[in-house]
Symmetry: C2
Subunit: 385 residues, 2 copies
């Protein structure tokens, strides 16, 4: 039995901190506490504590990165193709950690959590959280809860990649290596535009009620539209053409009506919207897209070169040819600023027509790159030990 065939059963864990009066002071000026952090770990921490890999999830992910919670679970974690025994991020070799970011809706404190001051869900009373705040909470989890002083590698794609960059800037001594994937030091105007339209779709849903929908009907229609918009941006024109083209959905000719989907691509998007609303909270969608829009290493530090002035990690920056939401030139911009600081930064643009989401899809070239980088990092950290 190959190790990659072994079923990985993982446990949902939760850690509480920032208990009042020791609330966490957030970047927006408000304070938050207590804070629950939902997280999962995979594999074993080495005696030297030098094999920990932190994975930062993207907009709609969660702490459940791989494996199943029980043998009956019908679906594994969101990056199960990459993380597990014998896989590229090998849990026989690395101690993998993933936590749901604050503001989330998957176990960590967020707008759907109970506000201890009122006994009701926070809704829009939840303070605005930024990438910096999220990373600060992850650092507390890693250091205070798990007792790890230095991470072998911090890995994340898309919004997860923004967290990776912030980690290396804010806690340079804690990050031996960093792998920001398909990300940017700040969103483009185009990406902000899509985020804003998604938010407008949610605001427009009368069930949203200014965010106070908990206990009632959630704004599923608006959230579904937001998800459909997002989903289009995660694919590429080429992959949509290959996957759907103009294929009709279970019909020989178009329907000349506004009923069932005419085209497969319509049916696919409707399905994406419908399933997403079953697992995601609309207010979290609002908060996290705002955190994404606000992330801006250039305005925070004056220049991107300044932002990376104190970093001490080695980097592997990855982008994908078919990604138009976080196009390659944004990754190159990061690499140039790192290299201007004489930082050890490699860059690879992976060939893929698929689009932004491609890191979630089986890709042997990507796996090889990750395997080699992690192995080199482990050799390095032990040599440097």
């Amino acid at each position: 039995m190959k190790s990659s065939d072994r079923e990985l059963i993982v446990e949902k864990k939760r850690w509480r901190f920032a208990e009042p009066p020791d609330k966490l002071r957030l970047r927006c000026g408000e304070s938050l506490g207590p804070i629950d952090v939902a997280y999962e770990t995979y594999g074993e921490l080495s005696d030297g504590g030098d094999n920990a890999v932190l994975i930062c999830h993207a907009l709609t992910g969660d702490a459940h990165v791989a494996g199943k919670h029980s043998h009956d679970d019908h679906k594994p974690g969101w990056w199960d193709i990459m993380v597990g025994p014998g896989k590229a991020i090998d849990t026989d070799r690395y101690f993998v950690i993933c936590s749901n970011f604050i503001g989330g809706c998957k176990g960590s404190t967020g707008p759907s959590s109970i506000n201890p001051d009122t006994g009701k869900p926070y809704a829009l009373d939840f303070p605005m959280v930024t990438v910096k705040d999220m990373v600060r909470v992850q650092r507390a989890l890693v250091k205070e809860c798990l007792g790890i002083d230095r991470l072998l590698c911090v890995i994340g794609g898309s919004f997860g990649g923004m967290q990776v960059l912030q980690w290396t800037i804010d806690y340079p001594e804690m990050v031996y290596a960093a792998m920001p994937i398909a990300t940017a030091c700040r969103l483009s105007a185009l990406a902000i535009a899509f985020d804003e339209v998604g938010r407008q779709a949610i605001y427009s849903d009368p069930n949203w009620k200014g965010g106070d929908y908990y206990g009632g009907k959630p704004p599923h229609r608006g959230l579904a539209v937001a998800r459909m918009i997002g989903h289009i941006t995660y694919l590429s024109a080429e992959s949509m053409h290959e996957k759907f083209g103009r294929g009709l959905q279970d019909r020989a000719t178009v329907g000349y009506d506004f009923g069932p989907a005419d085209f497969q691509v319509e049916s696919y998007l409707r399905h994406q919207g419908d399933t997403f609303v079953q697992r995601f909270d609309a207010n979290t969608y609002l908060y996290i897209t705002k955190a994404m829009d606000y992330f801006d290493l250039v305005s925070d530090y004056g220049t991107l070169i300044n932002a990376f002035e104190g970093v001490r990690s080695r980097y592997l920056v990855l982008s994908f040819t078919g990604d138009w939401l976080f196009p390659t030139h944004q990754s190159r911009e990061i690499v140039r600023a790192l290299q201007a600081n004489a930082v050890d930064a490699s860059f690879c643009e992976v060939e893929s027509g698929y689009g932004h989401d491609v890191f979630l899809i089986k890709n042997p070239a990507l796996e090889d790159i990750i395997i080699n980088f992690l192995k080199n990092c482990q050799d390095g950290i032990r040599g440097a030990g």
Copy 2:
């Protein structure tokens, strides 16, 4: 006084045809009548009747292509930069015609028109109209109402370009020359996807009420979201970057809230949505995006080469480098199929980072191309007698 400085005052006109029992049989199998066609004309028809230029408008356009309806009008027609005395489509030289397509909401019969059978607006009882139907109505206007046997040129961008292509296929003897701009012989899966999400935004608005909102509150929120989505696709990442970047909207720092727009691009999109709903009908948006999705010369004729088998026009096909909604390869596909039929077809990809909508923006290179093509056509039609 240069002729281009003269103010062009135009009159709204309307023509009625297809009076019952002579209703127009539509492609979907249903019949429609009577049909009102809102149109405008500019300039004078030559004695030989050989200087008529028909302009086909895009998704949200109308018959009012240029000039003003009165001196007090605050805004000229939608292509006033291109059409008028002394302009590229020179109304001192050409007799310009533009009509609102059927299914529209700008004077021609559409879903917001009164259904004579019920005395109430059609709403979703309006039959599905296709590009072929729209062109058939335009042909009736040109031939029966205006008495013109042959058009010097049919011009249109985007959805208007689809009408241009259909014109040359269905009425080859009536079209001396054709100028399809930034268009395609069928939408890509990506473009259908955006159309569908726009429709879903409208369906999701409770004021839509299955289309029966006339006399009540219109589904403005849903239509605004649809417009915002559309608007993003009309721009390019590059032009959004240049126009807005990450500039903040009337504020020094981000707001950390969900109130006023943080970024200029958000404010711009909100404004686009808000103003659009004042001038456009949501049901028309649904019908016309469907007509756009359904347009498919390949499936209609087996192959694109077959589609152009009987055409007799000369073509100038134009695309724009920054257009990702109707990318250049779609225009090239048209040109290749025309050339395979030994048709006189020129192609020009105009350099512009602006995006799909660029033909609506002042562009001297584009003007020169249009001026020369029309002049050559006029020389040709007169030479050909």
